[in-house]
Structure formats: C-alpha cells, structure tokens
Symmetry: C2
Amino acid sequence: MTAGSVSTPAKGRQRVNRGSEAIRSRLVESALSEFAARGFGGASTRSIASRAQAHQPQINYHFESKDELWRACLELLLAELDAAITERTQNVDSDDQMGTFEAIIRGLVTFASRRPELNRIMMHEGTEPSERLSWLVTTHLQWRFDDLRIRWEELTATATVAPLRGELLYHVLLGAACLLYANAPEASLLGLQPNDDSAVAAHADSLVAMFLGTSGP
Amino acid sequence: MTAGSVSTPAKGRQRVNRGSEAIRSRLVESALSEFAARGFGGASTRSIASRAQAHQPQINYHFESKDELWRACLELLLAELDAAITERTQNVDSDDQMGTFEAIIRGLVTFASRRPELNRIMMHEGTEPSERLSWLVTTHLQWRFDDLRIRWEELTATATVAPLRGELLYHVLLGAACLLYANAPEASLLGLQPNDDSAVAAHADSLVAMFLGTSGP
DNA sequence: GTCTATAATTAGATAGAC
DNA sequence: GTCTATCTAATTATAGAC
C-alpha cells in the first residue's frame, strides 16, 4: 500500500481522499489486466482484488459493481489511447491530412503494442451484444469510428491511398494494427516476439505503406 | 475418455451409433456458438446443453469434460476453414503463387464472414496463456502460420507485393480480414451490415489489392 | 475505509435410477 | 443413452464489527 492510505477517513470536500484514489487506481489496473486476459465473464472479482493486494468486498465499496469497475477500466484505457494519438498528431500540421493519418496509424500500432489491454477487451466484448457493448459503442466508439471514416474519405478524395471503403477502414486498420498485440500470448507460442522494438516499427511502416501507399520514401 | 467408454458400451465396430452422433453434433454446434460469444470461461455447460435441447450431464457423458468439448469445436471449425480455402485454391494452377494467395485471401474473408465463430474463439483464447492455447497452437496453428509465411516470402521474392515481413503477415492479414466479422455485434451497433454480400466482396477485393498490389484490374 | 463472515446463486462434474 | 438429484467449489454482493 501507499503512504497514508489505510484508515484515515475522507476529509476531502470535492475530492475523494488520496488513499481512496490509490486503492481505486490499483483495482482498476488489476481489473483491466484480468478483463483483458479472460473477458468480463471469465474474470473474477476475487482474483482482481487479490492482484491489487485488496480484499474482494473493497471492489463493491469503491465501485458500485463489477460492471462499474469494468467501465472505469475502459475510460482509463481510452484516455490513454487519446493521449498516445494526440501526442503524435499534434506535431503534424493539421492541414496535412496524409501526415495526420500517418501519425494516427503509428500511434495506434505503438499504443496497441505497449498497452494491449484495450484491444483485448474490445475484441472480447465485440463478440456478443450486451449492455456493456452498447454503452461502449454509443459513449466512446461511435464518434471515433465516424472521425476515422471521415478522415479516410477526405483522404481518398484528395490523394491516392488504398482502395478501401470508408465503412471498412476502421475494422481493417484496427485488425491489421492490433491483432498481433492483442493475441501476443498466441504470437509468442508461434515463435514471435511481437513487442520487439524493431518489429513494432517495421509493422507501423508496413501499415503506412499499405494504407497510404507510401511504399517508397 | 473416448467414445463409448462410460456405461453402456458402444456397439458400433468402427463407428459410434447414429443417435450418439446426432446429439454430439448438436452439442458441438451449440458449444462453439457459446464459446465464440462469451469465451471459454464465460460459457456455461448448462447453457450449451439447453441450446442443444439436452441436459447438462450429457456433455460429460458424450465428452470427457468442458475442455474436450471445446477441442471438438475447434477441430470442426478448422476442418471447415480448410474446406473453404481448398475449395478456392483447387481451381488455381498450383504454380500460380499469386493466384493461389489471392484465393487464400478471398477464402479467408468469405469464411470469416459466414462462420465468425472460429476467429471469435481464437481471439478470445489468444489473450492469455493456457493449456488450450498451447494445444491449439502446436496442433493446428503453427503449421498454418509457417505455410502462410513461406508462401508470402516466396511471393515477396518473385513479385511486387506489400512491403511486409513474413513474421507479420499472418496477424496483419487475419486481423484485416476477420476482425469485422468476429466483432460483428459491435459493427452492427456502429451502423454497419458487415455480412452484406457486396460489402464482403468489396472487403476481399480491397485486401487483395492492398496485399498483392492488384489495385488496377 | 478495511476486513471477516456469509448470503444467494451458479459453476462443472458425478451417482444412480430408468 | 437419458435424466433427476446432488456434490463440491466458485461466483458477486452484502452485513456489520472494527
């Protein structure tokens, strides 16, 4: 445990106290790892709590339910994804649509490699309708899908890129960029080292070439 | 245990009797659907049996365990995949490496679209090491991975195709070809109709163009 | 806020009548 | 082969002492 987290009561006015945030953060980090590995139904709150060095009822104290804990995981991961993308696009002239799209592709690959949990969870959840999936799509995914599609269609109209419909771009790109890392345990058994730095860079280069047609330098 | 081992002995010589095969087949079909939707840990044998109009203990009678039922599902699905690919490659001159690879891509997309369960199960299982995953990789996946990689590297040496390392081909192609269908429930919520015939054909055309560089006819 | 105990439900697997 | 009943273990959530 971190300093001062144990038994002092909350005295914050608008904020929960620091101890609360520390345990909440540990629980979220542990939970996203378990949800990513086993899916929502396969993950157990006991195992999540144990990995966070906490007791199982603390999950229901700090979060309303297993469902709410899952939502907290996704909001953290999506915020990290946005940060990773923005970090790359902000260095590109926003009028440069091609350069911006290239930055997005490179950001996606890099993020998928070092934080595979987001894509793992999305692949688990996408296989069956559920309240969780509806919440995820309407709250967080739909606008990202629309944004990427519009960027792609604008690019298609003004430059020579891969011949791919706007509706297909999202899943084709995400699948090509993320499956290797989402299924890294499988890739390892196949003899690969998917997170090797030079392999990640080569992967991103290939996708930039295949989607944006920049095969030569 | 194998067939006929439990109480009443099988009277078939080389084959189990017909009734057995009918219920086994219903259980496998039901199980692969549940494993695909919820993952191994999320699927329940009661629900699988109920969908097959059977009782839960019949799973342990006809299969050794939930694990063995899962293996039976994967052997069925992989046999169907092989049939779908062979159906397309057998009409191509086997010396035509480019044409053969194109047939493989089209076969993968078509199969992923009409039988998404195989890719769903593989995406679920690939996120965490397990005995199931090790069995799947060593028994069924490794040789497919090697075969595809060798075909790709031969193609790379003799023709102009996408600039993509052999180690990356498998996951990049499968991700680009299968994620849309594996995550069809998510795609539907995003407003897509991934299994629309013309969309599947356009998807396959795009992948052929992006990987094999056949953008013009 | 933490932690023990436990409630209420569900899991996979088995025993034994038929 | 089928089906009821049941065993053992694991699940999420809650109650209440501290």
